[in-house]
Symmetry: C2
Subunit: 197 residues, 2 copies
């Protein structure tokens, strides 16, 4: 059995090594130049940039620092359980349970107070229980939607997703966090499918 690390800095550096694997978790969405699929680490960076630039468009005023923290860590559980695509049809209950176990293990590597803060933020994001989390969740839908529009359908084309499914799967979550961003996204999605028809 490996002795638990009790020096805070060494615990933190160990966690930072552990999450390096997020760079190898491959998502469904392509890069905009379609040279390859996006990984969850660079996706998390991109979402933090979305928050930094777009927070004034949130439905309600948000705490930018909390939103960015949530987005930086929101996919970290994929280090243990991988990415579950929105169009995969996987059992949400099984997935949630696995992700909860991964969150417990990973945030448990950190000094207790710090691990608890980040674990709480991760749960808040998952539950979309606050305005900050609702906005963060909205951005996590906006980014792949706009990738799909910009790449001639992207994962929609691969999964036979039509306009009705887009409005249903992305609409409520984006609109709840940012009506202004949803207005743009809905228009972009409608124009995309109209051009295909």
């Amino acid at each position: 059995m490996i002795a638990m690390q009790t020096n805070p800095m060494l615990q933190q550096l160990n966690f930072l090594r552990e999450i390096d694997r997020l760079k190898s978790v491959i998502r469904q969405s392509p890069l905009l130049d379609q040279s390859r699929k996006e990984n969850s680490a660079e996706h998390s960076w991109h979402l933090a940039m979305y928050a930094l630039l777009l927070h004034d468009h949130a439905h309600s005023p948000v705490n930018l620092m909390r939103v960015i923290k949530m987005l930086l860590i929101h996919d970290i559980v994929e280090v243990d359980v991988g990415d579950t695509p929105i169009h995969s049809g996987a059992s949400p209950q099984d997935q949630a349970l696995q992700e909860q176990q991964a969150a417990k293990r990973l945030f448990g590597l950190l000094p207790v107070a710090q691990g608890a803060e980040l674990h709480d933020l991760w749960c808040e994001f998952e539950a979309a229980s606050t305005d900050d989390a609702k906005f963060a969740k909205a951005l996590d839908r906006v980014q792949p939607l706009l990738i799909n529009v910009a790449t001639n359908g992207g994962t929609w084309a691969e999964n036979n997703v039509n306009l009705e499914m887009v409005l249903q799967r992305y609409g409520p979550i984006i609109e709840r966090g940012s009506p202004a961003l949803w207005a743009h996204c809905e228009q972009a999605a409608r124009a995309h499918f109209a051009a295909k028809a």
Copy 2:
């Protein structure tokens, strides 16, 4: 000539599309599993996580939000000019000039006030003119140093970099921002080269 976009949200979304290319800028450092080289987008995510976890170890108290903003944007100019490795021997003056032009172009895509804020933060990071920037710069050296130690020499082995060069190229910048992190990094570097000898 393309008409300048004047709707703030469209300017922001255009910028977010533009910086997608950071995911294709390849750095010298490998992933920890050595499956491939790291790109600048996932590197920026990792550094933001370093700041989030390690900010208590800064030399002087820092504003975490400002440090994270700097780290999220610090490499964005590479969208235009690519990554310049620390051991490359490129002319620092030429590189600085190119990066300044890239910063002007990229941040100039944003609404004026927002672009100016981020451009100022980028200049502050480059100049290391504040405690926030000094800590951010330190992390930007800590991460590749620890990657090299964890990957049996990484870019040091490829570039014939010895212990003296590591102490000289990483030491002052890391120690200025975080004596505690430098104490750990120096020990790790010395142990690495001692094991090689």
